[in-house]
Amino acid sequence: MGKGANLLYGTLDALILRTLADGPRHGYGIARWLESRTDDGIQIDESSLYPALYRLEKRGLLASEWGTSESERRAKFYRLTATGRHALEQETRRWERFASAVSRVLLGPA
């Protein structure tokens, strides 16, 4: 792992899924979206982004298609499959439960 927050493996997957919930993007687009959403708080480790995308596609959560980018260049676009959408819901719920549990410990009464 390189720079960027010490993300738990798997959280990257969830972030990617969320990124694509609004529509298909290419890999670069995903990276930029996440950076802008988190005010550069999370810097995506590019060496793990693409492997994650490929793995997600292999698992059937994403589908890919070659298309043309905004800059008139050929790019590979990824989109959520139905399975992917379902997985996103599950991951989100799991994260909420995890986060609230940790919050209760860290931020709760002594």
């Binding site: 890999g27 060496s47 492997p51 490929y54 292999k58």
Partner: protein, 884 residues
């Protein structure tokens, strides 16, 4: 095909880097810096590319797999549609395979259960049964006969190679059932070591042990089946006393369900209570020993020891030396070498049937492939690769084989059950036979193997010629290589067919001969029933004799009864297996070194011989004049006369029995009768001596013939006579049960059941094989000739005479068949030895069979060439040229 995965990965990542570079450019970095920064963000871009490539390629493979599955599914649907369109072919192929695979499964099931599964006793390979072998010098050549108690106990005391020895004796006992009705059952008298030797645990209560075998008190054990059927599986049976032959006997327990020793018909085991101080004479052979060998001892070693011990006896006693103890492993005793051999042979026959069936289906498939060459060529032209076509062929074969196997297993299950219910005694351990996991696995393997073979055959042939549309030229429908393969197929099928057909014919004839065996008695219209008088109700010999006389009188008076009589031994029933030594007046008693005289003693009521249709050879039959006060008279059979009175008439000679206290009871021989087979049809008749029931207590003081079989001759069917019979006997003694009411004809048929059953099966499979072979031969030859229709047309068109062309076709069609016939006959001649043990009344090299079968198959091949040739000739040449 499109860009490869690695190329795409490169392009995708390159795009990302480019975009980053643009970002940095807008931020003010120069081109080189921008690029460096962008690449640095990636870390090791080559490694990323590598990972992505790997995952990407994986996914591609997955896609390929999925596509292949889709193709296979399409193939399946296509094949099923094709099969539905040609139902005749499908039925023929599936049917043939079903019969062959089903037969194999059923037989394998039997082989597995009867031969391969271990017996339910503790370490069964250490168990052996003990019998006596009589050598020809004893006067009789009997390979297996019971042993006498004296000899057995002597062996037990002296033996060091055995751990424990027990014994048993066959008998029958009347049990008063739970509801008060008497029932007579086959029983075994056993000693205290019997169950411990076999190492069985009781299912309920306990089994007879050493302390239970005391003279005077009897104990008994019930079979699981009897406990269920007659006592409603009542657990309270243990400790209860049942009335056995009029005496109360305590029930110790119940045997486990799989226990069936000495045979499945035995339903009671009763302690014998033999008093070692008071044994019957050494010549009285009626026990069978059961021994457990010491660890490491072989059967041969035990036999050696037994023979040495026996040799010692011959020195001490005057007893004969013409025999010695033999040991038969329990495994062989239960299953038997005969059955073992027969089953393996059956397995071989059935395997041959499978091969023939496969050959048939293979040619069916090939025929179809040839017929569809047009269609296949089109598909090939449209882009279906050879691999795809081959896979389709394989799919078709797999479906056919699977269907065939599924139907076959069903056939096997049903068939086995039906066959065994008809002849439950036909196979040992038949209660244990079911279609289990073993045979099913076997079938599955068979099906897969068969389908692979077919698929390959068809695939290879399809692949080689189908894509070549232009090759369907004037080379004629059968190119040189194709004809060669077809001819080899024909020759092969005919060879197999001949071999199996020869075997089948021999066996079929054996079956016929077996049915014609003369039992020595005329069994038609004779009803038999066993009666046993309990000693408690009939303590005196006089009462016994009076009862028998009364029974015969009453039964003879019944309507429809022509004659009635009593006897102690019945044809085909394995007699009361007691032989006794006797002496002949005027001849010195046999000393050691000489064989003693031994015969089966049969007690009869006057009229028995005439009733049974036993012909008189010399002198007279026993009659009412041989009553208790008359001089004891005996009638002997031919075997006895031949053995002991060769060349001279035995009439007037006297024979005697040692009845203890140095006293000899003498009988005068008054007649000689023909032999009666009391054992199976293949065994030698035993020497027999008959005396009347009235005189039996005189000759053997203190004994009385309490157990006899009543036989009556009637034209009426059993159901019409039996009720009257029951009433008549009930009037004399209401508590006396009728045991084993049967028609002698049925008995005879049952005795022949086992050898006949197996022979019949073999013959049946042989017939099926012959039929399949004939079918195959016909099909292949006819088709090969039909394919040459165009060639025929051409030949006619260019002027060849019709007769000559026809002759050519017939010749070329029959030639491979002839080769097969010759080959098959040779192979059959060579291997017929294998059937030796199963044949009866027919020589293995029977000339009739060896002429008939080849002739039959050759004529079929001739017919198969002639008919299509004629049909082809009648077609106009222009039609013929257009054909295909």
């Amino acid at each position: 095909m499109g860009p490869s995965v690695p190329d795409e990965v490169d392009e995708e990542l390159e795009f990302h880097v480019e975009m980053r570079v643009r970002e940095y450019l807008t931020q003010g970095l120069d081109a080189d810096e921008a690029r460096r920064e962008a690449l640095r963000r990636f870390g090791d871009i080559e490694q990323v590319k590598a990972v992505c490539r790997r995952v990407g390629l994986d996914r591609e493979e997955g896609k390929v797999m999925r596509e292949m599955f889709d193709e296979i599914r399409a193939d399946l649907r296509h094949t099923l549609r094709q099969l539905r369109r040609s139902p005749a072919f499908a039925l023929a192929a599936v049917g043939t395979l079903a019969v062959a695979i089903g037969a194999n499964t059923a037989v394998f099931g039997a082989v597995d259960n009867v031969l391969l599964k271990p017996l339910p006793y503790e370490q069964p390979d250490e168990l052996a049964t003990i019998w006596t072998r009589y050598l020809p010098e004893s006067g009789f050549d009997i390979p297996q006969f019971p042993i006498s108690p004296a000899e057995l106990l002597d062996f037990r005391t002296a033996s060091r190679t055995t751990e424990a020895v027990g014994y048993y004796q066959y008998t029958a006992r009347t049990v008063m059932g739970a509801d008060g009705t008497p029932a007579r059952h086959r029983a075994a008298l056993v000693d205290g070591e019997f169950f411990p030797v076999l190492g069985m645990e009781a299912a309920l209560g306990r089994l007879i042990g050493p302390d239970d075998d005391q003279p005077g008190t009897a104990r008994m054990v019930l079979s699981h089946g009897l406990w269920q059927s007659d006592f409603g599986s009542d657990p309270g049976i243990v400790g209860r006393s049942l009335i056995l032959d009029g005496q109360p006997v305590e029930v110790l327990g119940v045997t486990p369900p799989e226990f069936a020793f000495p045979d499945p018909g035995v339903r009671l085991w009763v302690s014998m209570g033999l008093d070692p101080a008071n044994l019957p004479g050494r010549g009285s052979h009626f026990l069978v020993g059961v021994a457990r060998l010491r660890e490491g001892q072989t059967l041969a070693q035990v036999e050696e020891e037994a023979r040495a011990i026996h040799a010692g006896w011959s020195e001490r006693y005057e007893h004969n030396v013409g025999h010695f103890p033999i040991f038969i492993s329990v495994d062989e005793f239960v299953v038997g070498a005969d059955v073992r051999r027969a089953l393996w042979l059956l397995f071989g026959a059935v395997a041959l049937v499978l091969v023939i069936a496969c050959a048939n289906v293979a040619s069916l498939l090939l025929t179809r492939a040839e017929a569809r060459r047009g269609e296949l060529a089109v598909r090939a032209a449209l882009g279906a690769g050879r691999a795809r076509l081959a896979r389709q062929a394989l799919t078709e074969s797999l479906i056919l084989a699977t269907l065939g196997a599924a139907v076959g297993v069903g056939l096997a299950a049903v068939g086995s059950r039906v066959l065994l219910s008809l002849h439950p005694e036909a196979l040992p351990r038949s209660g244990e036979i079911a279609i289990g996991a073993g045979p099913l696995l076997f079938t599955a393997i068979l099906a897969v193997g068969v389908s692979i073979v077919f698929g390959l055959v068809v695939a290879l042939r399809t692949g080689s010629g189908s894509s070549d549309l232009s090759a369907r030229g004037l080379r004629g429908a059968g190119g040189r290589s194709r004809t060669g393969v077809r001819q080899a197929l024909v020759a092969g099928q005919v060879t197999l067919g001949v071999v199996v057909a020869v075997g089948a014919t021999l066996l079929a004839r054996s079956t016929v001969e077996l049915a014609r065996v003369d039992p020595g008695v005329d069994t038609e219209g004779i009803l038999a029933v066993g009666l046993a008088l309990p000693a408690s109700d009939y303590p005196d010999a006089d009462e016994v004799t009076a009862f028998w006389r009364a029974v015969v009188e009453r039964v003879q008076a019944l309507p429809g009864v022509r004659a009635a009589s009593l006897g102690s031994a019945l044809a085909f029933q394995g007699s009361s297996t007691s032989r006794q030594d006797f002496v002949i007046e005027g001849r010195p008693d046999p000393v050691s070194g000489e064989t003693a005289r031994n015969a089966e003693r049969i007690t009869i009521h006057p009229g028995w011989m005439e009733l049974m249709g036993i012909p008189l050879r010399e002198g007279r039959h026993l009659g009412p004049e041989d009553h208790a006060d008359a001089p004891p008279a005996a009638v002997i059979n031919e075997s006895l006369a031949r053995a002991y009175f060769p060349g001279a008439s035995p009439l007037g000679e006297r024979v005697g029995y040692d009845v203890g206290d140095d006293e000899i009871s003498w009988l005068t021989i008054v007649g000689v009768v023909a032999d009666v087979r009391t054992v199976g049809p293949r065994d030698q008749p035993l020497p027999q001596l008959y005396l009347t029931a009235a005189q039996s207590p005189v000759v053997f003081p203190g004994s009385a013939p309490r157990s006899l079989t009543l036989a009556l001759a009637t034209e009426l069917p059993a159901e019409a006579v039996v009720p009257g019979l029951r009433t008549a006997i009930a009037e004399l003694d209401a508590r006396l049960p009728l045991a084993n009411v049967r028609m002698l004809d049925d008995v005879r048929r049952r005795a022949l059941a086992q050898p006949r059953f197996i022979t019949l099966l073999m013959a049946g499979f042989g017939v099926v094989a012959l039929f399949l072979a004939a079918l195959g031969v016909y099909g292949v030859v006819a088709y090969s000739v039909a394919r040459r229709t165009r060639e025929i047309g051409v030949r006619i068109a260019i002027g060849a005479p019709a007769a000559g062309v026809a002759a050519l076709m017939v010749r070329e069609g029959t030639l491979p068949a002839l080769v097969g016939v010759v080959l098959g006959s040779l192979v059959a001649l060579g291997s017929v030895r294998l059937l030796d043990q199963l044949l009866f009344g027919v020589a293995p090299t029977d000339p009739v069979t060896f002429l008939l079968v080849p002739a039959l198959l050759t004529s079929i091949a001739l017919m198969a060439s002639w008919i299509p040739a004629r049909r082809a000739l009648r077609v106009a040449p222009t039609e013929a040229l257009r054909a295909d």
